[in-house]
Amino acid sequence: MEQIIKKEYIDFNKTKLDGQQIRLVIKEGNRSVENLKKRETVSKTFWLILTYVVVTFLALLMILPFYWMIITSLKLNDEILASQQTFFPTVVMWSNYVHVFQVFDFTTYMLNTIVVAVFSTIGTLITTVLAAFAFAKLNFKGRDALFMVFLMTMMIPGEMMVISNYITVASFGWVGMEQSLTDAYLAMIVPFWVSVYYIYLLRQNFKQVPNELYLAAKVDGKGDFSYLLRVMIPLAAPTLISITILKFMGTWNSYVWPNLVTYKDEYRLISNGLRGSSFTDPEGGYVQYGYQMAATVVVTVPLFLLFVFFRKYIMRGVGRAGIKG
């Protein structure tokens, strides 16, 4: 049978190896390759499992506030304040929600928020599309310098503007003691019709559209505007959807400005309503956490639904920011 050469070194010039098989054994210390391989798979699986355990733990920590919000909203107040905390309500109090809809004028705030969101989104989309087109596809003197100025304005804290904008909006007659609902809407909508970040986002998108399309449109006798309308906008639709949703979310979360420019509670938006509503027990004088959390659930659910349906667009719109620093 075959002869096994057990040597540390083989001089291939001297040793004739015709018809012989060489078995190379690679060792590290006392461990052979098989051994090392096994160890590697074991440690790899171990680390993978550990990673999953850690990530799962962190993920649970991340969503704990939401879980707590939901179960607290279904608890009896005594249970919330008890020294023994429970991870599931012993008595499920659906009545908390019934009470919330009586105390918290959800429909009014919701309606205000939707009106403001829709109109500020439309305005923003129009200004953004026009400006992004000019910056991406048209050539004019000082274009790049102007765009740099635009980008630099993103650094200015909005609080700088709030003070004067408040005065400006008041001088337009939109804020004051005799404020009507339309005035309040205008005050909440118009100052937010420009977003430099969205212009930047859409400009990047427009720049990727090949110019051959523009030439083709020209040959077909289309002007710039109809080209923008018929070609560019459909091509950039995903970004426009992202902008719409992010803008909507922004309105849903806006708190400071609506609080400032509205003179009546029923003109305000959902965040103001939530923070402004009193969930205090009329007799005891302490906060009814069950009611409060039920209200936060009611405010959060629409956003969650939006997220479920438009997850891709939201994450893309937000994530786009980081691609180029």
Binding site: P65, Q85, A131, P157, I167
Partner: protein, 363 residues
């Protein structure tokens, strides 16, 4: 070979940039190429009945005609008008107001130029007509803001980096985990702030788990109350950072990691020598934006405490922006002075970061 397009009307003017070869299909190129030397310019006449085709545009930018400048400005007009009214004018006006004596936001009148607003806000001069000093900004707002900035920004970036590195290692369910970690982004800041104040209630879950009876929110000590505030801010800022870092990680060239594997580099070294430098543009971007964001923190305080202080009548939870909003209506020029100070701080920090990063960021 290069092609040039000429205007039909006037053959001597070159209307456009040079055509690259790729603009033509192979067949046209072949035909045109016959009997022509390299580098020879030829004229291509594009015939069209449409008037709009007078000018042909090729290259990176569509419209090269200077006479069409006005068109671009027309497209920009809505944005420029709105920006002038709601961004540029207010910026200048706010700075002006901060230097006005006895400014009235109703009439817009003032008694002239002064530095007093800054002195009053910084507690260097007593409030006019009294001998009371305004100390809320110096005692509470500025220190609190700086604590929030220097605790939450580094902490959240490090945590986000670790989570995104772990997420990137996952083989299955990566998308699901990614979505879970993004979830806090899609929430109402006020609503979740209220949830955190329930979690940190004296009888709340946190005290129950750690078996303590610390007072975190209502009537809490200022420094203790900073802990839930910072935790909340970190929690709410993680999703954005994880999203950015994870998408950055997925674009890192795999070769670096393979090389590290061959060299049997330890995990932490891979992290510090490959991952962090490769992600440095994203990290810089997050640093700049979240520094600015943390300097402007406001809604977190409203959500958690619903007051500028931990107990009624106190202001120990003031941030710079909270101070500005609280004074906006009555002491407009003081609010303006505080806003100018905030603006200056943010500017200095942003430029400092950009300057420092010039050496450390690898693109």
């Amino acid at each position: 070979m290069n092609f040039k397009l000429f205007n039909k009307k006037n053959d001597s003017t070159i209307v456009n940039e040079e055509f690259s070869k790729s603009t033509f299909t192979d067949s046209t190129y072949g035909e045109l190429n016959e009997g022509l030397n390299e580098k020879e310019n030829i004229t291509v006449n594009i015939v069209s009945r449409k008037k709009v085709n007078k000018n042909y545009q090729v290259g990176g930018v569509l419209d090269q005609e200077q006479s069409n400048n006005w068109k671009a400005w027309l497209y920009l007009a809505p944005v420029l008008i709105l920006m002038a009214v709601f961004l540029i004018y207010p910026l200048i006006n706010t700075i002006a107001i901060s230097f006005m004596e006895n400014y009235s936001n109703v009439t817009g009148a003032s008694d002239g130029f002064t530095f007093d607003n800054f002195a009053i806000v910084l507690g260097l001069k007593p409030i006019p007509g009294t001998d009371v000093y305004e100390t809320n900004l110096v005692r509470y707002a500025i220190p609190n803001t700086f604590i929030i900035v220097f605790v939450t920004v580094p902490l959240s970036i490090v945590i986000a980096l670790l989570i995104s590195v772990l997420l990137n290692k996952l083989k299955w369910f990566q998308k699901i985990y990614q979505t879970i970690f993004f979830l806090p982004y899609v929430t109402n800041a006020i609503a979740v702030g209220m949830v955190f104040s329930v979690l940190f209630d004296t009888n709340g879950l946190v005290n129950y788990i750690f078996n303590s009876d610390t007072i975190w929110i209502y009537n809490a000590d200022r420094w203790v109350a900073m802990i839930p505030l910072c935790i909340y801010i970190v929690w709410s800022s993680l999703p954005f950072k994880i999203l950015i870092l994870l998408s950055g990680l997925q674009n890192v060239d795999k070769q670096y990691y393979q090389a590290a594997k061959i060299d049997a580099a330890p995990q932490w070294k891979v992290l510090t020598k490959i991952t962090v430098p490769a992600l440095s543009p994203q990290i810089l971007y997050l640093m700049v934006t979240s520094f600015i964001g943390a300097f402007k923190e406001y809604t977190a305080v409203v959500g958690l405490f619903n007051n500028p202080g931990t107990s009624p009548g106190t202001y120990n939870m003031y941030t710079m922006v909270y101070y500005i909003y609280d004074n906006l209506n009555i002491h407009t020029s003081r609010a303006a002075a505080a806003a100018v100070i905030l603006f200056a701080i943010i500017l200095v920090f942003t430029f400092l970061q950009l300057w420092l990063s010039k050496r450390r960021v690898t693109y």
